[in-house]
């Protein structure tokens, strides 16, 4: 597993629940684990052990934990860079949704070997968008769900997200329905393309 995934998971647990909780989860995952390096490669099994240990320690289901991770990735102040990268997708939430098709390719420009899932957006009409998520690490669709939810909030779009009961994407895929009534929005967070580049 790419270290970035493990490091994100570690950052999520540390920033949300504190160092003590992280250390406890790390100890229960592997005897000598203290932390992850984002630019290194780790065994897939270790990632799954950490997720399982975190679920036990926090009494959360794996889908809930992964969705919280997705929300953390784009909304926590420590992850402002990821949020900025996501906001490059477009000036409004609709444009952002359409940019998801390109997101894995864009991300691979920077990290060619990171395990991003394939994403495909279908406009179902009547303000409903269907996002199919395929591949990537197991459970990644829950992370995507958390990201979409947080980004809708970021753009100030009021949306309802549902798991779609469909096998359209085939096995190894999951489908999220995004209901976006056209006239419902509130003030989103400020964003400028160049906020982070000058530093």
């Amino acid at each position: 597993m790419h270290g970035l995934v493990n490091r994100s998971l570690q950052g999520f647990l540390q920033d949300t629940y504190g160092d003590e909780v992280w250390r406890d989860i790390a100890r229960r995952s592997a005897p000598d684990l203290t932390g992850f390096e984002p630019m290194m490669e780790y065994e897939d099994a270790l990632t799954h052990d950490v997720i399982a240990a975190a679920c036990r320690a926090l009494s959360k289901t794996q889908p809930d934990l992964l969705e919280d991770l997705g929300t953390y990735l784009v909304s926590h102040p420590n992850m402002s860079r990821v949020r900025r990268l996501m906001r490059y997708g477009g000036d409004d939430f609709r444009a952002f949704l359409h940019s998801l098709d390109d997101l894995p390719e864009r991300a691979r420009l920077i990290l060619p070997d990171a395990p991003f899932p394939g994403l495909r957006l279908t406009d179902m009409g009547s303000g409903i968008y269907r996002l199919t998520c395929r591949g990537g690490m197991p459970g990644v669709e829950h992370v995507v769900m958390g990201i979409i939810r947080a980004m809708a909030d970021d753009y100030g779009a009021l949306v309802v997200l549902d798991w779609a009961e469909t096998a359209d994407g085939g096995p190894d895929s999951a489908t999220i329905d995004i209901h976006m009534p056209a006239d419902r929005f509130h003030e989103g967070r400020a964003f400028a393309l160049t906020d982070g580049l000058a530093s």
Binding site: E37, P38, M39, M40, R81, R84, L85, Y88, G89, G90, D91, A95, R106, A107, L109, I110, L111, A192, L193, T194, G196, L197, A198
Partner: protein, 351 residues
């Protein structure tokens, strides 16, 4: 409205004759395809600018002014006034605003059929990517085929990845330095260890720096261990390390090479009289009673020194052996003293 614009676009004042397959592209179409374009009339005046160029220009007036009054040309440098615009069609252009910040732009111009003049398509120069010319442009200011936003994405992501890589390198380097320091340190006393001694010796010999190698052996230390236990022995060794550090200079190396054996390398010091003075201070120092818990421990030290200048070529192994001979001579002479190696010590002792 649309028809109105189209009619203005194709005023029938022929500069280049219009052919049947020439396109009729209204300003809306141009704004969409090239949001950062400018239309130049045959007199070299800007008559229209695309929405993104307008946004980029901000409060710099462009429309109805001469192109060469609004922009300076870095390429081709021959363009100074409207008359120089003839023949720039098809060339790569590098220009900058004359008013306010000189935002660099690159572009290309194409001659217009029909009314004549030029259409100039522009994009931001690379140096402007960091802040998009300071104009607060957004995703919609760039056409769908323009990769500027992807470039921004790449820069941002690259910066993040580089930052992480540099942090990793710093952490690894810190860990390496720590490991190296530990590898050359005696954990009990904090002095150098055998490895540190070997390296320092090799460095001195390689650099041809004169030095003295002094072996220090504690006297009566075994009794401390036997009588008061190893914990007390450890405390005594730490106290001895303090004395050794105190009587030597920063540039000298003090190493613990065995249980109660130490080696001092005096860098750039081969004067036997000075070394002997230091040795006596050292012995006086370690003879001070050391209190460990309820116990008072008394030890002393014997020392033997070899001088690198006594050899044609200083050989660390030979010097260690010779310093040991001098040390044994000190022990035989009654302990608590220092001797400098002399060639006659090679003669086997008569006893």
């Amino acid at each position: 409205m649309m028809a109105d614009m189209d009619r203005r676009d194709v005023i029938d004042r022929v500069a280049i004759p219009r052919k049947d397959d020439d396109l009729l592209l209204g300003r809306h179409g141009l704004d969409l395809l090239m949001p950062m374009h400018a239309m130049i009339d045959p007199e070299g005046r800007i008559v229209h600018i695309g929405p993104s160029l307008s946004r980029l220009a901000g409060n710099r007036p462009l429309v109805n002014r001469k192109l060469t009054d609004c922009f300076s040309f870095n390429r081709p440098q021959t363009v100074r006034g409207p008359a120089d615009l003839h023949g720039i069609g098809g060339h790569r252009l590098d220009l900058a605003f004359r008013d306010g910040r000189a935002v660099r732009l690159r572009g290309v111009a194409a001659p217009l059929a029909g009314a004549g003049g030029l259409v100039l398509n522009l994009s931001l120069g690379l140096r402007e990517l960091a802040d998009l010319g300071g104009a607060g442009l957004t995703c919609t200011d760039f056409s769908a085929t323009d990769m500027t936003v992807d470039m921004l994405y790449l820069i941002e992501g690259k910066n993040a990845a580089m930052t992480e890589s540099q942090r990793l390198i710093m952490r690894l380097n810190g860990a390496r330095q720590m490991a190296e320091k530990q590898a050359f340190t005696d954990t009990l006393t904090g002095l150098g260890n055998r490895r540190a001694l070997d390296r320092a010796l090799a460095d001195l010999v390689a650099a041809g720096i004169p030095f003295a190698l002094c072996n220090v052996d504690l006297d009566y230390f075994k009794q401390v261990n036997d009588r008061h236990g190893h914990a007390a022995g450890d405390e005594v060794l730490k106290a001895v390390a303090h004395v050794l550090t105190d009587v030597t200079r920063d540039r000298d190396l003090v190493a613990r090479t065995g249980g109660d054996e130490f080696v001092i390398l005096f860098r750039n010091l081969v004067d036997p009289a000075i070394i002997d003075r230091i040795a006596r201070r050292l012995i006086v120092g370690v003879e001070q009673p050391i209190t460990v818990g309820d116990a008072t421990c008394r030890i002393s030290a014997s020392m033997g020194t070899a001088l690198s200048t006594a050899y044609d070529v200083a050989d660390p192994v030979q010097m260690m052996a010779d310093a040991d001979l001098a040390l044994y001579a000190s022990k035989r002479a009654g302990r608590s003293r220092h001797a400098v190696f002399d060639a006659c010590l090679h003669v086997p002792p008569s006893e």
